[in-house]
Each structure stands twice: as structure tokens, then as C-alpha cells.
């Protein structure tokens, strides 16, 4: 029988001794891969270590106390926590339904020729730097919103609901921040909704069509239920992005750090913005540690949100097999 009769060179001999070089290959790629793990470990260690002082001194309770004032040594971070949550929730409530409807439009209703350019445009918007959104918010949207929405709102509805009342001074407020964040996370939610709707198998649509359903009934009864988990996941990813967004918030939120604003139309602060503005010139170790502690909490929350969201999207893309619905 024909055989490989060529002489082994020394190099080939070494190769074969070490499983034809695959061990080296494995080892080299593995080391770089472990470097990524190492990075996460370093990040975790640094913010855990750096926040030690604040954690021991205040614990989580500092996050629920009002009156941030580093100079006087008051580290009640409630205004930042409140501002972060409120602005993100506004963003989610606005961007969620819009994002899902865009996803539906892109996958189910959009004419073929428009699909690619529109999808591309939506993805492009997710790539625009956040500082650009912040800039636009400061110079264009905030003044517009103050003159045409905030002031009329405060003067009418605001008389009854203090949350929409107060005296509107500058344009910068939690509400404006929430709206800008909504614009920023909209592409994320729309793109993920589109993706999870696109993987709904066609046979599910056909099942509804074959019993005489209209287009919308197909979407409502077959497509959206099937993609539900993934859509929720997309919203959570969007929420995570809003919570951690720094620049847009830093530029638009107004920097009211010392108290929880009574109205959404007043300036406030978010955790990320607070960290970015105070960490480089922190007064003392405790101040610094407190800011790192907030970064730590922010990191933890976004990680949990992302973890759940990714599981939902993954679950939606795979689909359960033989699940029982009692």
C-alpha cells in the first residue's frame, strides 16, 4: 500500500512528539483567552477593594440617604440612585414600545427594499458616540423641551401633580435626560427585537395564516408570544445601557447632587455622572471610596440585568423543547 515514505525532519519529529504542534497552539490561544478572564478579575478586585472604606463606614444604607455633600462629609447617595433609576425608567417606558414596534415593522411589514437600509440605519445610530447625543441634548433638545413642554406642563398639570411641577429654570432635568436616554437605547431594543422576531420560525406564522388569520393576528398571536422572552431581554439590555450611560447624563441631567428633586422637570444627578464629575478631584479617600462603591453597585446591577437579558435572548433564539404549560 502507498505510504508516506518521506523522511521525518527533526522539526516534524518534534511536532509529532507534541501532538503535531497542537499543544502549543492550544497553550498560546488559551493564555490570551485567560488574559480576558484576568481583566475581569482585576476590575472586580479593584472596585471591591477600592470601595472597602465606604462599605465598612456606611454600607448600603448610604445609598438611601439624602443630602450628598462631600465637603461636609455627607455621602447620602439617594439623589444619584433616584436620578439613575428614574431617568432609566423614563427611557425604558418610552423606548420599549417604540423599539418593539420598529422590530415588528422591520421584520413583518417593511417592504423588502427598505429592510436593509433601515436596519443599517438603526444599527448605525447605536454606534454614534454618546457625547454627540449629549451635545444635541444640551443645545437643541433641552431648550426646546423647556420652552414648549416643560414650562406649559409645570404651569398646568404641574399644579396638581408635583412630580411634573416646580419651577422650570434651566432646560436640564431628569425628564430630558430620560428622553435622551430613550433615543440612545432605542436602536438597541429595536435591533434585538428585530433579531428575535426574525428567528421566529416561518412555520409558526404559516400555522396562523392557514387558519385564516390577518397579518396583525399572526404577529400578535404567533410571532410576539414566541419572541416574548427575547423582547424582554432586549428591553433589559437597553435598561442596562441607560443605567450605565455616563456622558449624556453628565451633560444633560443638571448636576443637582444634594437633594432628591421633587419634580421630574428639575435638575438631578445620576450615579455614573456623579462618578465622572467628582472622582478625578475627590476630596479624600472616603469620598473616593464612596464613588468607587457606587461604581461597584452600578457594575453589579448592570451585570445582573445583562445576565438575565442574555439568558432571555438566548432562550428565545433556541426555544424550549417540550416545555409544559399547565
Amino acid at each position: 500500500m502507498p505510504q508516506d515514505t518521506q523522511q521525518l525532519t527533526t522539526w516534524q519529529y518534534i511536532q509529532r512528539r507534541t501532538q503535531h504542534g497542537d499543544v502549543f497552539f492550544w497553550f498560546i490561544t488559551l493564555s490570551f483567552a485567560l488574559a480576558v478572564v484576568g481583566l475581569v478579575a482585576v476590575i472586580g478586585f479593584v472596585i471591591w477593594n477600592g470601595s472597602e472604606l465606604a462599605r465598612e463606614r456606611f454600607g448600603l444604607s448610604a445609598l438611601f440617604q439624602d443630602g450628598w455633600n462631600p465637603i461636609r462629609g455627607n455621602f447620602g447617595a439617594l439623589p444619584a440612585v433616584y436620578g439613575t433609576l428614574v431617568s432609566s425608567m423614563i427611557a425604558l417606558c418610552l423606548a420599549g414600545p417604540f423599539g418593539v414596534l420598529i422590530g415588528v415593522f422591520l421584520t413583518e411589514l417593511c417592504p423588502q427594499w427598505l429592510k436593509t437600509p433601515l436596519s443599517f440605519f438603526v444599527e448605525l445610530l447605536a454606534a454614534i458616540p454618546s457625547v454627540v447625543y449629549g451635545l444635541w441634548g444640551v443645545f437643541v433638545f433641552a431648550p426646546f423641551f423647556r420652552d414648549h413642554v416643560a414650562i406649559p406642563l409645570a404651569n398646568s398639570v404641574g399644579q396638581v401633580f408635583p412630580l411634573l411641577g416646580g419651577t422650570v429654570t434651566a432646560g436640564r432635568s431628569l425628564m430630558v435626560t430620560g428622553i435622551i436616554l430613550a433615543i440612545m437605547i432605542l436602536p438597541t431594543i429595536a435591533a434585538i427585537s428585530r433579531d428575535v422576531i426574525a428567528v421566529v420560525p416561518n412555520h409558526q406564522r404559516e400555522a396562523m395564516l392557514a387558519v385564516g388569520a390577518t397579518r396583525w393576528e399572526v404577529i400578535w398571536k404567533a410571532v410576539l408570544p414566541y419572541a416574548r422572552a427575547g423582547i424582554i431581554g432586549g428591553m433589559m439590555l437597553g435598561l442596562g445601557r441607560a443605567l450605565g450611560e455616563t456622558m449624556a447624563a453628565l451633560m444633560i441631567v443638571g448636576g443637582q447632587k444634594s437633594r432628591v428633586p421633587e419634580s421630574l422637570l428639575e435638575p438631578g444627578i445620576t450615579a455614573a455622572a456623579l462618578i465622572a464629575s467628582e472622582l478625578p478631584n475627590a476630596n479624600d479617600f472616603l469620598h473616593e471610596s464612596m464613588l468607587i462603591f457606587m461604581a461597584f453597585v452600578l457594575f453589579g446591577i448592570t451585570l445582573i440585568l445583562n445576565g438575565i437579558a442574555r439568558m432571555l435572548v438566548w432562550y428565545s433564539a433556541r426555544g424550549p423543547v417540550g416545555s409544559i404549560r399547565a
Binding site: 497552539f25 490570551f32 482585576v42 472596585i47 417604540f98 457625547v131 390577518t214
Partner: protein, 288 residues
């Protein structure tokens, strides 16, 4: 004989309304997005001049009614290229090699851990990376510097490069891998001769996307690079960067500086657009 369900008329109306809503939502949502791009192009474009690209910052001085031109943003352009370029040099080997590992050894526990860690890195708000770089390097060395920003940006780029490399390599058909394997090629040979050549273009585009994203990042730079009003090529010292200029000039009370902010925003946006469009064109040709 073919008769419609009795409630069909109502259902048809609901169908029309809801489909209209989806179209309307898409249009409404696109309005602010178009507005942002439009404003950036118009206002940024009007601040473009030769000086904008060739000069560094000059303090605005009022001469009567006129306020003298504050120079340009050359220092920011240089800074961004240097910072992001170094970041790419750091992130590329790590990202690509880790991506190869994930694609070629996909299902052991190490790969699961690595994949989890890239997810953690890409989920982390960029300010967190800034905080870590600040605490770890700026605080210990006692100085802000461009290279610290590069390291922070590299950390943000690594998960993008790793995951695109992994995804792209996985797109290389398994059947081609098997063909090489069946001929008795070792894994490293197969990866170098068959898998990587097929994926190279796409990996490059992944790196470009990561570069574009990193170039627009601002938050980590605030905590690491600080900024510089003068043209500097020294990454060991504070240095300017375009997104930092956009941020700082927004906060300035001088309209001329605000104009420069729009200009830098346009440069950043154009860069993102160009990279994304060229990547899209390149990948479309590859896929068809």
C-alpha cells in the same frame, strides 16, 4: 361558498390600525435620530475651516464685538488617533487570539468562562473601566496620561474583537474544517491555512468597528487622560482627544467654543458612519 367569518370586518380594521401604528412608531422614532444627525452635520459643518484641522486650541479673546477664532482641534485629532491606535495595538492580539480560542475550543469550561467574561466586559458601563484605570494607574503613578486612556479603551475593545472573531470563525463552514481535518492536518495548521484566511477580512472589519466605538468613548478618558489644550504627541502625559473636546467645549460659555464642539461631534460621527458603511459594503460583498 367561500364566505368570510362574520367578524372579519372588525378584524380587518384592527389589522389596518395596528399595522399603521407600527409604521407610525418607526417614523416617529426616526425623527429625533434624523434631527441629531442633521444638526451635527449642519452646525458641525459650518464650523469646519482650515484652521479647524490645522491648529490647536487658542484662547478666545474678545476684540470689540468680535471674538477671535479659538483655533482648531488638531490636538484632539492627533490625541484620538494616538490613544485609540495604541488601544487597538493592545486589544488586537488579545482579542483575536482569545477569539480563536473560543472558536476552536468552543465547549470546554474554560471557553464558557472566557465567554462569560467577555460578556461581563461588554456589559460593563464604560465609566467602570475608567474608574478601575483611575484607581489602579492614575492613583498609583500620581499622574494622568494618554497611555492610561489607551489601556482603558483597549479593555472596552477586547470583548468586541474577541466576540466578532469568534463569530466570524464560526461562520467558516464546519465542512471546510472537516476537510482539512480529514486530510490529517493538525489544528494549528488548519487554523492558519484554512480558517483564518477565510475570515481575515471580516476580522479586520471587526477591529475597525471596535476602533470606531473606542474613538467615541468619553467617560473613561475623563478619568484617565484628563485633556490638554496644546498639541502633544506624548502618550505619557495628559493629551487631548476629540470626545473630550466635544464635552469640554459644550460646557464653555463661549459660542465659538460651542461651535468647535459641534465640529468635533461631526468628525466623530463621520468617522463612525464611514467605518460602519465601509464595513457594511465589505461584508455584503463577502457574503454574496
Amino acid at each position: 361558498m367561500i364566505s368570510q367569518a362574520s367578524n372579519y370586518r372588525r378584524r380587518a380594521i384592527v389589522d389596518q390600525i395596528m399595522r399603521g401604528m407600527a409604521i407610525l412608531a418607526t417614523i416617529v422614532a426616526l425623527i429625533p435620530l434624523f434631527l441629531i444627525i442633521g444638526y451635527v452635520i449642519v452646525r458641525g459643518g459650518s464650523s469646519f475651516s482650515i484652521a479647524f484641522f490645522t491648529e490647536a486650541y487658542r484662547a478666545p479673546i474678545a476684540l470689540g464685538d468680535d471674538i477671535r477664532s479659538p483655533g482648531g482641534v488638531l490636538h484632539g485629532i492627533v490625541g484620538t488617533i494616538l490613544i485609540t491606535g495604541l488601544a487597538t495595538l493592545i486589544a488586537m492580539p488579545v482579542g483575536i487570539m482569545a477569539g480563536i480560542f473560543l472558536a476552536e475550543y468552543p465547549s470546554n469550561s474554560v471557553a464558557m468562562t472566557v465567554r462569560f467574561c467577555t460578556d461581563v466586559l461588554s456589559a460593563a458601563p464604560s465609566i467602570i473601566v475608567g474608574v478601575v484605570a483611575y484607581t489602579l494607574i492614575v492613583r498609583t503613578t500620581g499622574a494622568f496620561a494618554g497611555y492610561i486612556g489607551s489601556i482603558a479603551l483597549a479593555v472596552l475593545m477586547i470583548p468586541i474583537i474577541t466576540r466578532t472573531t469568534e463569530e466570524i470563525l464560526k461562520l467558516v463552514p464546519q465542512t471546510v474544517r472537516e476537510a482539512s481535518m480529514a486530510l490529517g492536518a493538525p489544528k494549528w495548521w488548519r487554523t492558519l491555512t484554512v480558517v483564518l484566511p477565510a475570515a481575515l477580512g471580516a476580522i479586520v472589519t471587526g477591529v475597525m468597528l471596535a476602533f470606531a466605538r473606542a474613538a467615541g468613548e468619553t467617560a473613561p478618558l475623563i478619568l484617565t487622560v484628563l485633556g490638554n489644550n496644546n498639541l502633544s504627541y506624548n502618550l505619557m502625559a495628559p493629551i487631548a482627544a476629540l470626545p473630550l473636546l466635544t464635552y469640554r467645549y459644550t460646557e464653555q460659555p463661549f459660542p465659538v467654543l460651542n461651535d468647535l464642539a459641534w465640529g468635533t461631534a461631526l468628525v466623530l460621527t463621520l468617522m463612525v458612519l464611514l467605518v460602519n458603511i465601509s464595513v457594511r459594503v465589505a461584508t455584503r460583498n463577502r457574503l454574496r
